[in-house]
Symmetry: D2
Subunit: 337 residues, 4 copies
C-alpha cells in the first residue's frame, strides 16, 4: 500500500499511520516530499481495507498497489485460458454459442430447442430447471424432470448441457446432469455457492452482477480459481445505468477490458443485456466483433408462448439467421464459429 499524507500533516499523524502499518506486519518506507509525505507499506496488503487508512487524520489517500485479485489477473497466465467444457474449448480461436430456452418447459419444447441449436452448429444447450432468482419470477421450473429432459435432448444432438444454479440447494441435482454450470448475476457474490460450484470440478460460466465493476467480477472469479477450478468463463450481461431505453446497458467495453485485466475467456449475453428480442442480433454481432469468446443466447421454439423471458428470446428463424451473420463477423474478426 501507498499512503499519501495531506499537505501539512503533523509528525504525530504520520507516526500514527506508521504505527498502524507496523502493527499490521508491514515494513514501512517513508519518503518526505516537498508537498506530501508518502508512506509505502510492504506486507499483507490483501487483508487491508484502504478505507481504514483513508479516514485516519492527516491522510489524503491510500492506494493498494497489488491487485485485490491475483489468480484471475492477466499476469498470472499471460497466454490466456481456454476453458474445457463439453468437449469444446472456450477462449480459443472458435467462438462458442450457448443457446436454448430460458427454462425447460416441456419435453417437446426442449427437444425442439435442441434440434434448432444443433442445426445452427452451436455446441451448447442451455435451459434452467429451477425458479429464477428475483421476486418477480413465477415459473417454478420442472426440477429433476427438466434436467433429465435437457440431458436427453442434448445427448440426442451431441450437445453439452449448461444449467443455471439459482440456489445452493439446487447444486446437487444440477451437477448430476449438467456439463457446465451457469452462475447468475444475483449470485455473483454468493460466496457459499461459488465455493460449492467450484468444488464440483465442472466448468463454470460466471455472470457479472448488474451493479458490479470489472474488478468486482474478477474478485468473484478469483474465489472460484482459488478452489482449484480454472475452468471459468466470465459473462457480461448488462449493468444498471440511467438509460431506460433498454432494461440494462450492455457494457461491451467489458470485453476488451476483461481481456486486458484477466486471462479468463469472456462471453456476452445480449438477451438479458437488452431485454428486447429486436436488439439481440445487433448486440450479438457487436459482441463478437469486440472480441468476445462466445455468446449466451435465448432461443425458444415459440417465444410468444414462453413461460419465462419470452420478450427477449429469439424465434427459431431469427436464431438461424443470426448464426449465419455471426459466422461472417467471426471470420472478419479472424475467428471461427
Amino acid at each position: 500500500v501507498i499512503i499519501v499524507m495531506q499537505e501539512g500533516a503533523t509528525e504525530e499523524q504520520i507516526q500514527e499511520v506508521i504505527d498502524r502499518l507496523v502493527n499490521l506486519n508491514f515494513s514501512v518506507h517513508r519518503s518526505t516530499g516537498v508537498v506530501h509525505t508518502l508512506l509505502g507499506g510492504i506486507g499483507p496488503a490483501e487483508t487491508v481495507d484502504p478505507e481504514e487508512f483513508k479516514i485516519m487524520d492527516g491522510v489524503k489517500d491510500c492506494y493498494r498497489i497489488i491487485s485485490p485479485y491475483k489468480l484471475a489477473s492477466r499476469t498470472f497466465r499471460p497466454q490466456g485460458t481456454v476453458v474445457q467444457a463439453g468437449g469444446a474449448g472456450i477462449g480459443g480461436a472458435a467462438i462458442q454459442v450457448i443457446a436454448g430456452p430460458s427454462h425447460v418447459e416441456s419435453r417437446e419444447q426442449i427437444f425442439r430447442a435442441a434440434e434448432i441449436v444443433s442445426a445452427s452448429g452451436a455446441r451448447f444447450l442451455r435451459g434452467s430447471a429451477f425458479q429464477s432468482s428475483g421476486v418477480s419470477s413465477v415459473f417454478p421450473g420442472l426440477g429433476e424432470q427438466g434436467l433429465l429432459w435437457i440431458k436427453e435432448a442434448a445427448s440426442q444432438h451431441g450437445l453439452a448441457v449448461v444449467c443455471d444454479v439459482p440456489e445452493l440447494a439446487n447444486l446437487t441435482l444440477v451437477q448430476k446432469y449438467a456439463d457446465m454450470l451457469l452462475l447468475g448475476s444475483a449470485n455473483m457474490q454468493n460466496q457459499a455457492l461459488l465455493r460449492a460450484a467450484a468444488a464440483t470440478g465442472l466448468p463454470i460460466v460466471l455472470k457479472r452482477s448488474v451493479a458490479a465493476t470489472l474488478e468486482d467480477l474478477l474478485l468473484s472469479a478469483d474465489l472460484l480459481l482459488s478452489q482449484g477450478n480454472y475452468n471459468v468463463a466470465l459473462c457480461e450481461r448488462g449493468i444498471r445505468t440511467f438509460e431506460t431505453n433498454t432494461r440494462f446497458t450492455l457494457d461491451l467495453g467489458a470485453v476488451p477490458g476483461v481481456k486486458r485485466l484477466s486471462h479468463l475467456p469472456i462471453l456476452v449475453d445480449p438477451c438479458h443485456g437488452t431485454g428486447r428480442r429486436d436488439m439481440v442480433a445487433p448486440m450479438a454481432r457487436a459482441a463478437v466483433a469486440a472480441g468476445a469468446d462466445g455468446l449466451l443466447l435465448e432461443v425458444h421454439p415459440t417465444p410468444d408462448r414462453a413461460q419465462v423471458e419470452g420478450a427477449q428470446s429469439l424465434k427459431p428463424e431469427q436464431f438461424a439467421e443470426l448464426m449465419g451473420q455471426l459466422r461472417l463477423i467471426a471470420e472478419a474478426a479472424g475467428r471461427t464459429l
Copy 2:
C-alpha cells in the same frame, strides 16, 4: 394495461395486439385517436410483462396501470404501518435506533456494545453471527455462540436483538435468538429466503439492493407481506452511482419516496451508505430530518480493532454524541427518540 399503437400502425398490427390481449383473458377497449390508436386491456395485468407488448410490430409503448406491488402500496393502508418489534413500534412518533457492531466478535465486545447502546437510549442491539454476503468478506462469524452472547447481552440491558440472515441455511438458528430479522441488500430479491423469513412471523428489516429502484424494493416487500407478515420495515443503504467520493450514494430521497408510495416504515443505514465513519453523523441527522422512522448504526467498542467494517463503525463517544444530536433533530422534526 394501456397499449399505444404507433402513428400509422396497420389494422393488422392492431388486430394482432387485440388477439393477444384476448388470449390472455383481457377484455379490450379500443380508442382510435387522431394520431394514435389506444388499446385498454382490463384483466390479469400483474401476470403480464409489458416488454412482451412493446416489441410487437406497430406498438409504440405499453403501460401497466396497476402497480406491480399491491399490499405494500400506500393505498392499501393509507394510515401507515407501525411495525411491532421487541416491544417497540417502528413507524410511530418515536424514531428507533438499531445499533451495535457489524459482527459479534467476542463475549466482551458484544456486552460492551450492549452497554453503549443501552446507555444512549436506543432499544435495539444489532450484531451478526455469520459470514457476510460478498466475496471479500473473510470473518466467518461466531455462529450459535455469537447468537447466545448477543441474546444474553441484550437481555441484560433490556434490548431487542436484530440479526442478519446472510443465507437461508442460517435462518433456523437466527430465529431462535433474534427479535427481528435483518435481510441484507444482496438478498433483497432472494425469493426463497424472503418467503422463509416471512414465515417465521418475526418482524423484518428489508434492505434495498444497491441496484434496486424503489419499485423493486416495494416488489420485494410485497412478497413478504403476501406471506401474511406485515411487520416489515424497509431500509435505504446507498445505491451504485458514478460518484466515487463514497462507496455508495445514500439516496435520502427514498425516505419521502417510500412514504408516498408505501405504508411501510423506512429506516436508513448511513454506515453502509457512506462507508466512512466521518460521514455517518451528518447523514444520520439528515435521515431523521427527512422523516426516516429509524436508523441502523454500527458502533463498536474499539473500531480500530474491529474484524469487519471498522472504517464505517462509530466510536463509543461518537455514537453518544450523535444520539444527543439526533434527539434534537427528532424534536425539531416533531418526533421523539
Copy 3:
C-alpha cells in the same frame, strides 16, 4: 395524456384534474374502471409537463402518449435519412469514417493527418481549431489559422472538413471552412448554439451528452430539424456509469435503439467513449457490427506528442490496420466502407 387516478381517489380530486386539463385546452375522456379512474386528455400535449399532474392530489401517474420529439422520430420518415455531407452520404449502404486529430496543432501535423486519413479510404477529416469545452482543457487551439490549414490539407486529398464548434462565438469562423459541423456532448442541450448551427444549413453531427437518455438526444435533434435542417447525424460517445475501468461506458445499445426510434443516422466515437487507445479498435469493430452508420476516430501522426487527447488517439499504423478490419466487418454486416 393519460392520467391514472389512485385507487380511492375522491370525486373532488378527479374533478380538479379534469378542470386543469380543460383549462389547458384539452378535451377530456373519462373512463371509470374497477380499480382506477382514467382520464384521457386530447390537446396540446407537447406543452404539458407530466410532473405537474403527477403531484396533484389523488393522481397515481401521468403518461404522455405523444413522443416529445416528432420530426426526429422514425414514424416521421420510416425509410430513414441519408445525410448529405461533403459529397458523401451518411446513413446509406456505405459506412463513413470521420478521422483526424483532436486538434489542429501545426500545418505539418494536419497535412500528415490528411494523408493518413486519405490513404485509408476515409472521406472526412476532423480537427478542432478552438479550445475544447471542459475546465481541464488547456490547449487554446489555433483559431482561423488552424481552420485554413485543415481546409487546405483536406482539399489536397479530396477530403471533407468536419470541425468542432465548442462555443457559439466560434460558429462564424467555423462555417467559413467546414463542410460539416460537430456539436459536442457539452453542447447537446445548448439551445442557442443548436439553433444557430442548424441555421447555417451545413450538415451536423450531434453528440450525445454523457448524462442524456436517447429521448434527450432525440429532443435535441428535433430542435435542429425544426429549423429546417435535416442533415443531422447523431453520435454515441459514452455515458457516465459506475464502472471506472473506462472513462465512460460506450452504450452500443444506442445504435439499434436510435435505429428503432429515429430515422437519423447514428455514428459512434469509440475514442472519447473509452479514453484508451487500446480499446478503440475492438469498440470500433463492435459499433460497425451493431449497425452504426459511421465512426468518429482520432488518429494523430505522433500521439505521444499530441497536445490534446493523446491517450485516446490511434497511431497511424493502428488506424490503417483498423480500417482494414472495419472493411471486413462492414462486408460481413452487408455494408461497404
Copy 4:
C-alpha cells in the same frame, strides 16, 4: 505521480516510462519491490494525464498524488471560507436561504415573491430573466425588464438579488443588476463563462452538473478561484442515477464530502434535485441537518400558473411552513437561520 509497473514488466518497458517522465521534466525515483517496480515522479504533475501512462506497455496503474484542484482544496484554507454576498455571509453560523421563482414573469409576480421571501426572514431573492439552458425550455424570459423588476422588488424588501446566467451573452446585463451570480449545472464546465463570471468580481453560486463527481465540481471551482474571485459557494442539485422515482437523485453526501475536501461553502437545491414540490420540504430539512450552509428554493405566488418549473415550486404557505421547520432544524444543528 506514482507509476506501478506490472508484475514481470521488462527492463525495457521500465526504461521507456522513465524516459517519458524525464522528457516531461520529472525527476524520477525508482523502487524495485518483490512484485512490482514503482516509479515516483516529482515534477509538473498537474499537466500530466495519468491515462497517458496507464496505456504504456508494462504499466499497471498510475496515480497522481497531487490533487488536480488546489485553491479549492480544504488544505488551502483549513479554517473555511465565508462568502460575502449582499451584505450577508454564506458559510458562517447563519444558514442562508436563496428563494424566489424560477423566472421573473411579471412585475406583480416578482414583487409578490419578494414579499413572501422577505416575510420568511430569508435575505436573497432569486429569479431568472433569460431562457433556461436545455432544449425543452420554452419561456424566453423578460430580459432586462425582468432584471429591473427583480432589482426593484428586492430593494423594496432589503433583499439581495441572485440571477442565473444561462449564456455568456447574458452576463453584461445580469452583472448590472445582480448581487450574486448563479451558474447552472449545464455551465459547470463552460470555461469561457466561468472566467468571465469570476472576472466580474461578484460572488458566485456554482451548481454541480448532473454527471459531475465532486472532484469535477472542485476543478471548476478552482478555475473561478484562480481568477482571483474567492467568493464562491457550491451547490448540490441532484445527479443522474438509475432511480426514476425522482428526476435526479439528490446526493446529500456531497455536503459532508465538500466540507472534507474543500473550504468553500456548500448549498443544496432540493427543488431541481427532486423535481417534485412534495419532496422539497423533507430534503431541505435533511440538507440543513447534514450541514449545508444554505438552500436554493423555488417559491412562486401561484405555482399552478407558473411559466417554468411549477411542479417543483413551493406555494407561499408551504414555503412559510418550511422556513419555520428549517429554523428548528438549524438550531438543533447548532446554527441559525
